[in-house]
Symmetry: C2
Amino acid sequence: MDTLVTIGKAASLTGISAKMIRYYEDIGVLKKASRTEAGYRLYNQTQLQQLGFIRRSRNLGFSMAEIQSLLKFWLDSDRESRQVKQLAQNHLQDINEKILALEKMKTVLQELADKCDGDDNAKCPILEGLAEFSS
Amino acid sequence: MDTLVTIGKAASLTGISAKMIRYYEDIGVLKKASRTEAGYRLYNQTQLQQLGFIRRSRNLGFSMAEIQSLLKFWLDSDRESRQVKQLAQNHLQDINEKILALEKMKTVLQELADKCDGDDNAKCPILEGLAEFSS
DNA sequence: AGTTGACCTTACAACCATGGTAAGGTTTAA
DNA sequence: TTAAACCTTACCATGGTTGTAAGGTCAACT
């Protein structure tokens, strides 16, 4: 017996807002949901699972395009784990690059902040650093 | 003698695209530039310095709203370095939170990827992890 | 039956910083 | 004079999400 729920219930069950569920359908990440006679979207257990899959993927920072691929792999019994791992490793590289970029910002900014007295004087090495000719 | 340049020159001199220079003027981060009779924007040395300031601030990840504040501080001889340092430290906290979030993603995803053979088999712990009921 | 409140629908705008395009005016150099 | 390289404004798109507005539906209570 397929328990069907409307979008609000699906939202609270999966932690994805109704708004986003509609959006995912819109951009083709989710198949179009069935409807009641009045036009209300209905979701079954399988679709709720997919929403959970999407939420966990988003939590790991995957883009919607990547999640679309991941979902396809998940639903495709002929997939090769190589493909999935490749996608994951590309994303890991993205993450690493972002971390590196942030670490660089952090280092530079921390150095400037450390030099700044942070009192009621106007002299401010942070502003001086940002104003520097060099870079 | 104030050397005046048009927007393309300002762009190549400061590393900020002409598009963005107009945008910064539009949102009020930069004062409106003076114009030639034909309506071309003109930039003097001071304005070029401000554009450099903006670029370096962007490189450190500051938002335009924050940069607007930083620029005001820079131009205000009555500022207190306390205010600037506070702004910088808030941003440093943002950066740290982003790094932490990314590190968490990285850890989880790396664990999943490590468990995945990445061969021509369909079995894939990455997909299994994303499909998990638990989270 | 009627009303109320909680739900659902679509369609639109906004966010942020940036890039792109289009249609047109200006300047400079050949 | 013409061509190239500039400039102008005014749009649209990105990505993922939220907000709002104007309306239809459903269930429960009076």
